[in-house]
Every structure is written in structure tokens, then in C-alpha cells.
């Protein structure tokens, strides 16, 4: 019932073990496993809908529709809630958690080991120059280093300007201050369809100008959003980006 646990479950479950994933798993902007998700029944996270599927187990995120989750619990369906990963270390833990819930401990441990190895392999050259970068999202929200995205940025060999601003977890960074900080890279996210003024902030000409001056980068949100092994792919792309900066 949660796009992040959905992906972990898809990676770990036996064939036929997983019945349904959330509809967000079918959206490229939020999920890295759109194709894999095709074989499952999509759900929109309403209790009624999930109940009718008669599952033995529901895996939900901590913040997934609370009302629906408690309702399912009252209907005597076993629900495991899994908190979103807020660091690379927690990604590993979540893999094991979901594995345990699905009874796929071995497979989970193998995946975790693979993840560790992958992460180790991505260690940036300690002598490489560390460019300054900013993650800039809707409403001018920037992400600090003590978050999953922040750790990913650091792992890819960047310095997060949010740290300079004293934002360890994240917060709103006025455009003016972003311009003043003048990071080499501004990483923005893909806009959703329709339109919103919130998303107009990272598309302001100032940001566009800064992205034109340096190398621009758009986050592939599907890889970024969740604590899944796909974060490694995002880190790899980011690191390649960094290397291109100095060429």
C-alpha cells in the first residue's frame, strides 16, 4: 500500500506471493519499477478495496492512509508498517524488514549484501574536487544532509549547500539565498502534469540561469524517492555528473 514498500516487496517476494501494489508504483515519477508492477493489481490505498483482495498480509508505510490501515487492522488483517528510510543505512534495514515480513529473510540478506557492495563500490575518490550542489524542490524546499537524498548527494561526492545554511534536515530556501549561495549544480525534480505554482519555484528563470551556467541535472524521482537499492543507480548517475563537471 506504499510505493516504497511496494518496490521492496516486488524485489523480494516469490512469484504469486504479492497480490497488489499501490497505483503510485505505476507512475514513473514515483516508482523505479513501473514495468515490474504490471503483473499486479493496482490499489489506491482505500481500506475497502484492499479488504476485498483478502490478503494475508498488508505492508504499509508509516504515513500511509492511517484511517485505512487501522480499519484493516480492525478487520483482523495483519498489517506491517514500515517507516520510510531516512538514510542509506536505513535502506539496508528496510530491505531486511520487508524480507522478514514476507518470510524471505535469505533473499533479503543477499539483496542487502549486494546493496552494501554496491555502495562501497561507489565511494568517491577522496582526492576528487567536491562541487557544491543544491537539491531544490517544489516551493523552494531544499533537503539537508541528514536525509536519504542528502546522503545520496554526499555519497556522490557533492557538498550540500543546505549544510552551509544550517539546514540539516531541510527547509524552505528563498530563491534569493539560493542565488547568493551560487551552487555549481542545482538538482530539481520532474514536474507533475497539470500545473502548480509550487513547482514554478524551481523553474524560476534564476534557477534556469544557474542550471545553464553549470551542468543541469534533473532528478529521476523514481530512483530518489524511496529507500530501495535503486538509490545506488541515482548515486551513480549523480557521480557521473560530477565527473563531467571537471572535464
Amino acid at each position: 500500500m506504499n510505493v516504497c514498500t511496494d518496490q521492496l516487496a516486488m524485489l523480494l517476494a516469490d512469484e504469486g506471493q504479492l497480490l497488489s501494489v499501490s497505483s503510485l508504483a505505476y507512475d514513473k515519477r514515483t516508482s523505479a519499477m513501473v514495468e515490474e508492477a504490471q503483473g499486479y493489481i493496482p490499489n489506491t490505498g482505500r481500506a475497502e478495496e484492499v479488504f476485498l483482495l483478502k490478503p494475508d498480509l498488508v505492508i504499509a508505510g508509516t504515513y500511509t492512509a492511517r484511517a485505512a490501515v487501522t480499519m484493516l487492522e480492525r478487520l483482523n488483517i495483519k498489517v506491517v508498517t514500515i517507516a520510510p528510510a531516512s538514510s542509506l543505512k536505513e535502506v539496508r534495514a528496510r530491505i531486511l524488514d520487508v524480507g522478514a515480513a514476507l518470510g524471505q529473510t535469505e533473499r533479503a540478506e543477499a539483496l542487502a549484501a549486494e546493496f552494501d557492495a554496491g555502495l562501497a563500490a561507489l565511494q568517491p575518490d577522496p582526492n576528487a574536487r567536491k562541487p557544491r550542489a543544491a537539491l531544490y524542490g517544489a516551493n523552494g524546499y531544499t533537503v539537508g544532509s541528514q536525509t536519504l537524498s542528502g546522503e545520496m548527494l554526499t555519497a556522490a561526492g557533492f557538498i550540500n549547500i543546505a549544510t552551509e545554511m544550517g539546514l540539516t534536515h531541510g527547509g524552505t530556501l528563498p530563491l534569493e539565498l539560493l542565488a547568493l549561495a551560487a551552487p555549481e549544480v542545482v538538482i530539481t525534480s520532474q514536474p507533475y502534469p497539470g500545473a502548480s505554482r509550487s513547482e514554478a519555484v524551481p523553474r524560476h528563470p534564476v534557477v534556469a540561469r544557474m542550471q545553464a551556467q553549470a551542468v543541469s541535472s534533473k532528478m529521476n524521482d523514481g530512483d530518489w524517492l524511496c529507500g530501495t537499492p535503486f538509490v545506488l543507480r541515482a548515486i551513480k548517475n549523480l557521480a557521473r555528473h560530477r565527473e563531467r563537471l571537471d572535464k
Partner: protein, 327 residues
């Protein structure tokens, strides 16, 4: 009169400079202006040219537009309660803007967004004039305004809620209250040409509005072409309110507060009030936008909230004064 205009112009100029000097990025006024004018290639130049200058320019243009529209509507309807925001013209324009953004029409060509807002504003103005009649009695005017605002507001919320964009639903407040935060030069070039067209139309109304002080029959017998006047008023108001709302949301009360404050200083004459309200409106919106940045710099306080805090009590006062007519 000339002294009033000189005062208002000086006030607006001072507020314009203040608006350029105030922002989260700390810099002195002289540093800011140097960066703005000579472009020293530092980030400050970018900030001044792409963030603060468009914001200040929009504040001036939108303030002038709303002041002018308020003064013109009041002159035509001979009612001090007529104001684009209160009578539903602004909310109609916001609906037009939201619809064109959410359907993707706004992306089809550059002027699509302001033109959509303009068309919706036009519908709003025509509805109000039809409902309230050409002699805008307070009761019908306010009732028509409530009905149109409620309808347009509901449809705006609906459009935003149906949007596939998860952020859009949270932006009802922006469209209802208005804000100048994070606007760019793009918005200036989008809105100002259409506003300027509206200014020309509204500015041509002075003589007719003066004559209308004595009623429609008297004005017509003094050679005023009422049909043309009405057409210019409707088109001009739609242009300025539509363009302003398309880029900054529905900012209310400017057209109520400013003409009310300035009327005694222009001897009550609608023609002079037009000009005074345009300049006064610019000063008012600049001041409100500065207040927004000073009071809660971190919280994106909406400009319309500040205007409503100033305007709503005055509106109540005006209703109190006209309640004999209302009863």
C-alpha cells in the same frame, strides 16, 4: 491636486526603492542598485534583475491596475463599494487563469494565460453589470458579488482539486489571496502589455465618469456616449484585472481602500480620482508587499492577507455608512 500627485509619486518611488532593497539576501541599497544597474556579474545582479526588480515592477503595475479599476467601477456605478475583488471580477479572472493552467491551454502560446484570465474577468464584469444594473445599488451589487465570487471560487477549488498535480490542490489560497513572491521578468512581460492596454481604456473614461456624477440622463444629455463608456469600462477592467490576477492571484481591497482614501483629496471628482488611485494603488501594493516580507519573511505570507486586513474593516465601515441605502 498637483501637490497630491507629487506626494503620491514620491511615495511610490520611495517604496519602489525600498522594495528593491528588502529581501532575504542582505545587501545595502547602494550595493543592490549598483548590481541592478551595472550588472557586476555577481549573484546579487541575478537576484536584483530576476527576482526583486520583477517583483517591484509587478507591484507597481498591479497596484496601479487595481486602483484604476476600482476608481473606474465606482465612478460608473456611483457606488463606493464597487471593487473588482468584492464584486467577483478578480475571482472570475482567477478561475480563468487556473482553468487555462490546468488544461494546458496556458502553455499553447505566450499570452494564453493572461488572455484566459481576461476573458473570465470579462464574463464576471458583464454578470455584475447585468445583475446590479447601471446604477449600482449597494444591495444588488454586494449580493451579485457574493454570488459570483462564491461560484468562481468553488470552480477554482474544483479545478485545482481535480488537477493531476499534487501541489495544485494546496494553491487555492494563492489564487484567492494573491502573492507576488518568486515572480519573474517573464510574468512582467506577460502581464504588463495587457494591463497597459487596459490603463489606456480606463484613463479615457474621466470626462464621462465626471458627467455620470449627475446620473445617466444628465450625462447623456451632456454629450457623453454611454454605450462607448460602458464598453471601455468593461474591456478596460477586464484587461487590468485579468492580467493582474493571471500572474499574482486575486488581490482584493486595493480598489476599495485606495479610491476611498483619496476621494476627499481630489474633490470627489471621478476623473481626478482615476489618476490618483492608479498612483496610490501602486504605492499601496508596494507597501503591502514590503510588509509581507518584513512581518513573516520565512512563511510566504500572502499579499492578499495583508490587503484584506487593511481593507475588510474599511469595507465594514463603508457598509455602516451606506446602511440607510441598504435598508
Amino acid at each position: 491636486m498637483t501637490r497630491l500627485m507629487a506626494f503620491l509619486a514620491a511615495l511610490t518611488a520611495a517604496l519602489f526603492l525600498a522594495s528593491l532593497a528588502i529581501g532575504p539576501a542582505a545587501a545595502t541599497l547602494s550595493q543592490s542598485l549598483t548590481a541592478l544597474i551595472w550588472g557586476d556579474g555577481t549573484p546579487l545582479t541575478l537576484i536584483m534583475r530576476e527576482i526583486r526588480l520583477p517583483r517591484a515592477l509587478l507591484a507597481v503595475a498591479i497596484g496601479a491596475s487595481l486602483g484604476l479599476a476600482g476608481a473606474a467601477m465606482q465612478g460608473y456605478l456611483r457606488n463606493p463599494l464597487a471593487e473588482p475583488g468584492l464584486i467577483g471580477v478578480s475571482s472570475s479572472a482567477a478561475l480563468g487563469a487556473v482553468l487555462s493552467l490546468q488544461t494546458g491551454f496556458a502553455a499553447t502560446f505566450a499570452m494564453a494565460l493572461p488572455l484566459s484570465a481576461l476573458s473570465a474577468a470579462l464574463v464576471g464584469v458583464l454578470l455584475v453589470l447585468t445583475l446590479a444594473g447601471s446604477r449600482g445599488a449597494s444591495m444588488t451589487l454586494i449580493l451579485a458579488g457574493i454570488a459570483i465570487s462564491a461560484m468562481a471560487g468553488a470552480l477554482t477549488s474544483l479545478a485545482l482539486n481535480l488537477s493531476p498535480n499534487p501541489y495544485a490542490a494546496h494553491e487555492v489560497v494563492f489564487w484567492m489571496m494573491g502573492s507576488l513572491a518568486d515572480r519573474s521578468m517573464l510574468h512582467v512581460t506577460l502581464a504588463v502589455p495587457i494591463m497597459a492596454l487596459g490603463w489606456l481604456m480606463l484613463a479615457s473614461l474621466g470626462r464621462g465618469l465626471d458627467a455620470l456624477t449627475l446620473g445617466e440622463d444628465a450625462a447623456a444629455s451632456m454629450g457623453i456616449n454611454l454605450k462607448r463608456l460602458r464598453l471601455m469600462l468593461v474591456l478596460g477592467t477586464s484587461c487590468v484585472v485579468g492580467a493582474a490576477t493571471a500572474v499574482a492571484g486575486a488581490i482584493g481591497f486595493v480598489g476599495l481602500v485606495v479610491p476611498h482614501m483619496l476621494r476627499p483629496f481630489v474633490g470627489g471628482r471621478p476623473s481626478r480620482l482615476l489618476w490618483a488611485s492608479a498612483v496610490g494603488g501602486a504605492a499601496m501594493v508596494l507597501a503591502a508587499d514590503i510588509a509581507v516580507r518584513l512581518i513573516l519573511p520565512e512563511r510566504d505570507l500572502k499579499l492578499g492577507v495583508v490587503m484584506a486586513l487593511i481593507g475588510a474593516p474599511l469595507f465594514l465601515h463603508l457598509i455602516y455608512k451606506t446602511r440607510k441605502e441598504l435598508a
